[in-house]
Every structure is written in C-alpha cells, then in structure tokens.
Subunit: 725 residues, 2 copies
Amino acid sequence: MLSNHFQNGIETARLVWSRLPNTEDGEFDAVGLSKKSDGSSVESLDYEVIENYAYREEQAQRGKVYFVYQVVVKWFFALLIGIGTGLAAVFINISVENFAGWKFHLTFKIIQESYLAGFVIYVLFNLALVLSSVYIVTHFAPAAAGSGIPEIKGYLNGVDIHGILFFRTLIGKIFGSIGSVGGGLALGKEGPLVHTGACIASLLGQGGSTKYHVSSRWLQVFKSDRDRRDLVTCGCAAGVAAAFRAPVGGVLFALEEVTSWWRSQLMWRVFFTSAIVAVVVRTAMGWCKSGKCGHFGAGGFIIWDISGGQEDYSFQELLPMAVIGVIGGLLGALFNQLTLYITHWRRNYLHKKGNRVKIIEACLISLLTSLISFGLPLLRKCTPCPETDAASGIECPRPPGMYGNYVKFYCGRENEYNDLATIFFNTQDDAIRNLFSAKTIHEYSAQSLLTFLVMFYTLAVITFGSAVPAGQFVPGIMIGSTYGRLVGMFVVNFYQKLNIEEGTYALLGAASFLGGSMRMTVSLCVIMVEITNNLKLLPLIMLVLLISKAVGDAFNEGLYEEQARLRGIPLLESRPKYRMRKMMAKEACGNRKVISLPRVVKVSDVASILRSNKHNGFPVIDHTRNGETLVIGLMLRSHLLVLLQSKVDFQHSPSPCEGSGIIRHNFNEFVKPATSRGLSIDDIYLSSDDLEMYIDLAPFLNPSPYVVPEDMSLTKVYNFSASWV
Amino acid sequence: MLSNHFQNGIETARLVWSRLPNTEDGEFDAVGLSKKSDGSSVESLDYEVIENYAYREEQAQRGKVYFVYQVVVKWFFALLIGIGTGLAAVFINISVENFAGWKFHLTFKIIQESYLAGFVIYVLFNLALVLSSVYIVTHFAPAAAGSGIPEIKGYLNGVDIHGILFFRTLIGKIFGSIGSVGGGLALGKEGPLVHTGACIASLLGQGGSTKYHVSSRWLQVFKSDRDRRDLVTCGCAAGVAAAFRAPVGGVLFALEEVTSWWRSQLMWRVFFTSAIVAVVVRTAMGWCKSGKCGHFGAGGFIIWDISGGQEDYSFQELLPMAVIGVIGGLLGALFNQLTLYITHWRRNYLHKKGNRVKIIEACLISLLTSLISFGLPLLRKCTPCPETDAASGIECPRPPGMYGNYVKFYCGRENEYNDLATIFFNTQDDAIRNLFSAKTIHEYSAQSLLTFLVMFYTLAVITFGSAVPAGQFVPGIMIGSTYGRLVGMFVVNFYQKLNIEEGTYALLGAASFLGGSMRMTVSLCVIMVEITNNLKLLPLIMLVLLISKAVGDAFNEGLYEEQARLRGIPLLESRPKYRMRKMMAKEACGNRKVISLPRVVKVSDVASILRSNKHNGFPVIDHTRNGETLVIGLMLRSHLLVLLQSKVDFQHSPSPCEGSGIIRHNFNEFVKPATSRGLSIDDIYLSSDDLEMYIDLAPFLNPSPYVVPEDMSLTKVYNFSASWV
C-alpha cells in the first residue's frame, strides 16, 4: 500500500522522518517518530542542506584543494590532540605524584615523633587538596564534576550536555583531578583524563575557545557534527591511551564503549592519535627518569608490571577463577546500584541546596577517608617480616621514603610491617602494585584484606557523585584486586603444590570487578593486558570478564549507562528493542500531530508555531495546479530560526519568489555552534512590521528527506536511522 | 518534490530500492540502483517477509522460549566453533611440524654421507607433500585453493561464491595446507586457518553438511543471512586466534578486515569464541609438552617470543624505523601489484587448461623452491662461529636435530655455520625465530640477507595463486623481517653506542611489510604484539604500520581487496565514493527500465519476465477503484521462483483471491539455502496448463520496502543501504 500514503500531503508529513539535532536537555521531539528512535545527530540534515545549495557552491569555488586541506587539517588535529592529551596526562601525573609524595614523606617523618601530629598533618594536607578541587569545580567549572564518561558517551550519541566541552571544563578537570586524586579520595584520574582528551579535541575543532578569544578562524574547518564527533572520539581514545599507557586499549575503548556510530575509516585516525600519545608519554617519562620531576619516577603512570607472576595455570584453578568472575559480577552490579541510588539522592536533594553543601560534603568525605586510612592501620597488629628472599629484591620492611611492599607503620619492633597500612596508607597506585605483586605470598592476612575491601568499597560508593572530578577505574581495580587476592590466598592454602601467585589472582579480581561494573569486554581486556604487561594471562582475563559481565548483566546495566540515564541522557542503543518488532512506524508516533508549513509562510505564523511546540522539523507543503497538496520537503527548526534572525529573506508578498535566496546567506550561518544552547525563538526580536512579512521556504528546505512508509516495522525504521551518520 | 514521484505507480517503481540476495557470480542487477550500491545481503528483505507473515505466525506459536533457545544455541555454536577451529589448528600444526621435522631430520642425517642423496630425498619429500596438496585441491576441493580470505570477505559483504563454505572445502583446506606448508613452499597456514574456521562455522550453522547426510534438523535454527554471517565472523576470528595464538588479534581482525557490517552485540560472542580457541590451543600444547606429538613442541605455533629484544629506543632510531616503514609500503604495494598480474595471467590462461596444468605448475614451483633453498646455501661460504656467550644460551653451531640459530650446513670446519642455510634451509617458523632473535648481532651477512630477500620475494610472488591452500602472513613476515634485519645491521654499524638489537628491527620490518601489503592497522598491530609477546614495542609498531600503510595506499589497494576484485567479488565499501556526492539516485539507475508485475499475474508472464532479465526484485502494481495505479509492494525473484516451483498457489481466475495463501507455505520454503546456487528459472518445469494459470502475489510481496526519492543524493542512498543489516 505504498503509494496510498503519498496521495495526501498532510498524511505524508506524518511519515517524513526527521532526525534531531544535538539537544541539550536530552529531550526529544519532532515530526513523527522522534521520541523512540531519534537523537543521534543533526549532521545528516546538515549535509542535506549542504548538498542542496551552499555546499555545492562552496565546493565549486574551492574544489579539490580545499578537500585536501581538510584532510591535512584532520590529521594535524589528530597529532595535536595526541600531544595535548599526552602532555595533560603527564602534568596531572607529575602533580599528583608530587603532592602525594610530599604528603606521605612528611607524614612518615612526623610519625617518628608523634602519631597525633602526623595524623593532623595528613588530614590537613588531604583536606586542602580536596578543598581546592571542590572549589574549582563548584565555582569555576561545574561540568567538570564526576568522570565525564557518561556525558561524552551522550555527546557522541547525539546529546549535547551544556558546558561539557568548554575550555573552563578542561581547566577544572585537570586541576580538580589533581586535587581530588592527590587528596587521597577513593577515586581515580582515568575518567577525567578521557574527558580532558575530549575537551582538548573539541576546543581544537572549534579553533580555540570563542569565549576567551583565542580562536582562530583559520582552523574552523569542522562544521558538521560528524567531524566534531570524530575529533572527540580521537580525544577519548587519547585520554585512555594516556591514562593507562595503553594505546590499543584506547582505540578499543573509543570503539566499544564511547562511540555510538563507528566508521571504520575513523579507526585509522584514532589509532594514529593513540600512537602519538604513547610516544609523548614515553618521552616525558624518559625525561623524568633523570630525577627532574621530583617524586614522579618509579610511581606515576600506572603500569603494574606483573612479569614475575604466574604464567601457567592448571585446570583446577579454573574453578576459583570462575568464582572470582561471579564475585566481580555481583559486587559490580551492587556498586552500580548503590551509586545509582546515592547519586539520585545527591542530585535531587543534597546538591540542590547549593555550592556550600557540595563543598562541605566533599570536605567531610575527605575527613572520613583520611580518618579511616590512617586510623584503621593503627588498630591492626604488626606482623613479623617473612624470611627475606634476597633474589626477589623485596625488602621487609621497606626502606623509608621508598615505594614498595611491607610498610612499617605503628610497629613496635624492627622487623615488622603493618599489612593493612601497606594497602591503605599509601597512594592507590602503590597499593595496587603491592596487591598485584608476586613472590609475596601471605603478605596480607585475610582479616586485613576483608577490612580493606569493606571500608574501601564503602568509601568508593560514598565518594562517587561528589562534586570533584572522579574516575572509577582505579577504585574498581583496588576493590577487585583485594577480593582477588583473598581468593588467591584460599587457593594457595587449598592446592598446596601448585605454583600459585596471589598477585595474579588480584589482577583477575580487578578485571572481574571492572567487567562487572563497566561491562566492557574487548577494550577492558586489552587495557588490563597493556597495564600489566603480561600477555600470557589473556585467556584467563577473558574468561573472568565473560563471567563477570554475564553475572552483572543479569542485574542491571553498566555503570556508564545507568549514570547516563540518571542524568537524563537518553542514549540510543545500536540495537532496536525487542518489542519494536511488533510495532509499526505509525504506532511510535502515537497521537502527536504533525505540524506543517506552507511554502510561503507568514513570519507571525512561523513565530507562533515555533513557540507552540518543540518539534525540530516541519514538513513544507505546496499545491499543484490541479489543487493537490504535496510535501515539497522538510524545514528544520534551527534553520527557521536562522532565517527569522537574519530577516534578509522576508518579503512583502505572499507569492513565491522566483529569484534564489541563497546568495544572501553564507553557509556558515546554518551551522550549529559546537557548544552552545543554539538559538531559541525567545532570543529573536521581531517587530510588528516583521511579523506581517512572508518567507518563501523553498530555497532553504531539504527536498529529499528520508521517508518511511507508515506501516513499516519499527525495527526496520530504527535500523534505518543508524545509517544517517 | 517528494509526493510527485508517488503519483504514478510505474514511476514509483523506479524508486523502489531493492537490496539483492547473495549472488554467486558477483553480478548484480535489480530494480533501480542495484549496480552501484547493492550486494550486501538479502536478509532485510527476508526479514520483511518474515515479519509479514510466516515469522509472526511462528513467533506466536513458539514465543519467548524459542527466542531463549535461539540465544543458547548461538552461544553453544560459538563454543563449538572455538573448539573445532582450535582442534583443526592443532591438527594442522602437529602434522606440518612432524612432516617438516622428519624431512629435515632425514636430510641432515643423509648429508653427513652425501649431499646429492640428501638433496634428492629433500626434493622428493617436498614434491610428495606438494603433490598431495595440489591433488586434493584440484580433484576434490577446488574452492580450497588460495588463502580464502578474499572470498570470506566477499561472503560477509554479501557475495556468495560457489562452494566456498562446503564440507569438502574444509577437508581440502586442512589437508591441502598440511601438504603445501609441510612441502616447504613460500606460503603460510594462517589464511587457510581463517577459511577453515569460517567453514566450520558455516557447516555448524547449517546443522552439518546436507550433501553428506550428517545434518541435524534440530540445529537448523539459523535461517537468515545475518545469523549465518555472524557465525562465519566468529569462525574467522577463531581462525586468526588459532593461527597466531592471538585471541584479541582475532577479534580485531574479524572487526577490521573481514566484516563489512559490524554490530557491537556480535563483538561479545566473537570475543568468547576467541577465548575458547585460546584455551583449547593452550591445553593441546600443554599436552604436547610431554613429547606425545613427535616433532611438535618447541616449534609449532608461531609465537616468536622476543622478550630478550630491545626495550627502549632513542630518537635517532626513529629515522631508520621510518625508512623500514617506507620500504615496507613500497615492497608491499609491489607485491600486491605483481601478484595481481600473475594471478590474472594464471586465471585467464594457465588454469583454463585444466587440472593437469595446475598440478604440473605446483610441482615445478616445489622443485624450484627446493632447488633454491637447498642449492643457494651450498654456494655460500661458511662463517666462523662468534665467541659464544654462555649466558644467552645460544649455541654455535646448533646441536644436530635441534631448532635454533647457527645452522651448520656444508661447512668444512667444526666451529662454522652457514648463515644463508640458517634462514633458508629451515622451516619458516624457525627461520622467523632466527631472524627475530636477539643477542645474535652479525649472525647474518648483508649479502646473505639480500640474496634471501630477493629469492624469497620472487618465490612468494610465483607461489601466490597456484592451486594449493596458501596464506600470505608468514611469507610476508619472512620478507619483512629480512629487510628489517638488514636495516638493523646498518643501524648497529652506524650508531655504534646504542643498545640496538637487529631482531627488533626484523620485527618492525615484518610489521611494515604486512602493513604495506594487507593495509590492516589495529588488528595487525595487536597480532604482532601478541605473537612476539612484547608490549613495549607497541608505539614503534604503530608508527611503522602508519607509514607503510600510507605509502602503500599511494599506489594501490590492499592485497585482499585487489584479489577480491580480480576474482569478480564486488566488495561494497562502507564509505560512498566521492563522486557519488554529485549524483542523484536516478542517475545511478541509468537507462535501465524497471519491470513491474500486476497483482495477479499469469504464470507464463512471470516465467518470461524471469527469463528475460536478471532483476532480483519487481515492484507489484495494482489499480485503485478510480483507476489510479499504485505500487503495493516488492516481490523478490527468489520468492517468485519458490512460488513457481511449488505451484500450490496457482489459480484459474485472474481475479484476486480473498483467502490467504500463507497457510499453504512453510516459512522455511522461502529461506535461501546457505551454500547453493539457489533456484533458477531453468530448473523449474512448467506444463502448458501451468502456464495458463494465475498467481495472486499480494500475500507474498513485501508491502513496505525501502523507498528513496529519485533526486536524493547518491551518497545518502548509499549510507542508507548500510542500515539494512
């Protein structure tokens, strides 16, 4: 019954399908099926406009040279993103390591004299850092709070959250995460680094920050959402590559977790960006080796080399490993659920009370964290050092001022160490290194590990969602490696004879918790392998991830999806929902009426139509000579607003103009700004004379929008929309 | 001008866009725009049919339980594919290693007495193996020749080459590649293993081989092309994972190189399959360690561990590394071009003369290869052993019957070795291991490396395209590591002080040649890292790959794309061509006329229409009460053929039937067989009575096919079609 639908112009309008521009508030509305299947991007429609007039014109003028120029700029930008993100990561890492280094150095020095004074210094140091972080975020860059990954995911899915890619967000993210991570909170710097990379990419794409007048018109070649999104994807990959020194992991993270619409030609460029990051980071680390970077050196970038670990496994071990996977799935799903409740409560009650509450909250969390991490080890009895194996190079207790296992803390005798302090009273990177360490069997007691697991899990849940930049990777690895090591201890006791390393189990635990919480697969697997530099464990990591993700999926969605939903970011999945199979296109429209415009429309009518609804596109109808109504194309709300604002196309007569209105417009006028709310009808002043004028929409409409028959299966329509990228 | 097109039924027909079923001969034709932008898959249309009648019916009958059953079967099949491919790889490897082991063992024993007798034995051994391989391929499984990757790529892109996934192809591939690789030809077993994995997957999907009566109806749950393609994708990944012991590389290979339309939900399953392969292969290797597998043990699976290699690099080294990238790009592009010419000549002249010519050709190549690999080292003077470093564990000359560097061959004195024999008179895996080896500076003379490079390159070009199963990975690694090591030698001489390992340069050379020839990026990078087990070289491998791919792209397309084009497989790229931007949909149709059918059509008319053209879809038109013509849907050629064959829907009167014709048909009847030519109009016998009958097409047509306006940009139409997956 295909043609039937096209007999009547108005009827057809219902079928004219309009994809929506990036919106800010995550609310969708348009002609037809918007609510169910929209939200990806405006650029198809932009391109249509481009193809229709301005673009062809510009193409003709500039031709092949401009095309080559654009490609060169794209690759140049990929280079710049790599360098910028790499340097940002180096800066953050050096700062964090130095702050944390000074803090622990000072504290350890003072506790030789007085534990109370040491505690006070420790608390104040942490408090100052956290306070600086929360102050920056609340007063300068509110969008820098949290990890930023759900927001970036949303942006790449077509939802533009206000301020997420501003210059001030970038600054807030960098300095805020130095404060929050250096201040010892139960959070990491990896999520913020991904956001940092995305910000750098987006700012480059705009040719600088317009607000701070450092933009260059020369670099503003990226006018479509697609190009901007490609840049942000590169930035994300660069962020992961820099955070974990995992270039391939970065590419895969961008591919699997962040982007909604991946194009294979982009992979090549993302790959290049990641390689640049790897080179920059490596160069900077080489430079730091000579001691120019203070405490940054042995610590710093998180590579927890477990080359000394277990390289083989027996079949009996698969069972405890599967148990780790199940625990990871359960604890990960629980983490997602708890953080969801707490964030919901924070957003709706606590944070509505203003910035002061946010600052007090962060300070309280900092105090609590300091208290627990300093106080709990004090309650723990020290353990005598094991017989040292000179070949392993591990000293017990570790020399003062060094990194390593066997921390001496509140111990009476000389050859003793405090196992709880070894993981708790330490930077997180060092704690993870100690948990992953091989050749240190029975370093930790089950009681200490269990205490740490419960306390740190609680702290991580509470800290999540406070107004500081916060990543979930490192806390996840901490939690996971703790119970992994715990399982490892049981395995060591149970299968006496096997060559089992608790550190390897800790690594598997870390993978399982991240899998159970974030639900990534290939990218997480590659990241875990890259950060531990041990390929031989790959099948085991895969196995553990498979189990933990499957277990977690039985309960809820992944952390980023849950958080995105909570923040009102309606992520469009790549796959249509099962129930769509039984629905038709018209059922998805529901009862909402399509609003159409005549070809020549009165300005006052346009204004009232734009005010009365939130539709993003309007079919334009015309009449043939024999009186039939025809849909002649689709007009976008954003383009209508541009026309209303510029006013140059207003005409006095209601008859179609014959001349072309294109010459009066520059193609740039129709381009959506990269990060702004865009025009609103309320921003436009129309005089009463203006309101009496007319506009001929014919030169501006998109004459060949996508069309689907109204009885097409919604699944097909949904899949169809995936091609508009 | 949207509605205009839908005024007239016939006019509309031009716009009804039909995606084509998998065709065998790579020739496309259908309503409208087929030639330019078609060829991906029939399954959208299949699904439409499914949605329209049979599927809904079956859904209603089976409901949720069947859905769960299907998911379980999918995962179970992924498990089976992993186990099957892993076992096949183990079998091939054990066989190849044992044949090659016996061969070299015997030859080395005999040459103690007489070099001539040794040569004869060596030649005959190789000849017998190659003869068995070519005989199997020519007489039993012609589709098993070559690497199979272009064909699999084509299959996943929607082009079904006859016989490519048959059971006999699987058998031919396994036994053929044992013969061709064991016989010492300049080819590898990796491409064939990918094909093997795909065959196993496809046979599972059909529930066994129908021809050999081992199929199970119970397992035939995969009726759509999409499900079959997913299985084959899993099989490809499993093949790579098994060939290189690179599970992540396998996933990425399937993602980047093979599949045309990747869906993220598939990644998870592919990942699982790869993990299973890794476990199976590892288990088998553990079992072989105890000496149960003959010569298979130290050799076997290609993991060229270069953990002893260079771990750091200085900035000066980036220049020679870039040179390696450029050489790789040039030699790789040249390789693609030469093999293209030779394959073209073979296909059009040599191989048309029959199987005997193919057998003689393969035997001649085997003789030539044996002659060169045995004869050239004889001409080479032996080198005195370097001062042995006991710590490195490398003996010179190597003990007889062992694998390792410093092969003693035709040497007069005791402490001498033949550097050309070390790489030439060896299995390829051992040769690569020797080329990659660290701590063996100056093992090879530049002259030997250059000789080997020229001879082996020539042999690889000549061997490519002969009628044996052949992969290009290992030859590519051989070629690349030779010139890589050559560059490394110059660097060692030039920068005296740096800690440079020639083996590391050999690895970079291998990466560069593969990049220059196959043009893969991320997957190749991961595979290189996984097979050498050295993550620290990742940025360098990335850099070299970037350069070599860019250089290669300046000359021609990747190896697989070139070969696919030569074989008449019209691969659809994911990206529309640049010139499509300026074309409209109707321009792509050209002058070809759309052929439409009335709703109730005479059988003789259907038969003559199907005979007179090759269109794959026909719009069906009907008349409204007031005489207007309407397109009521699209009828596929394959479905028409099913109707003609079954004859149950024939009716005597030319008026539309009111009852439903569905009940007479099982949904399975319309499913395309997995691997057959499908029905042809010439296969169907229609009596003269039949020809006078009528069919009402209304119950069988697809009432909501995809439609595009005729003035839509061809770029948009092309992108649109990507969603039909």
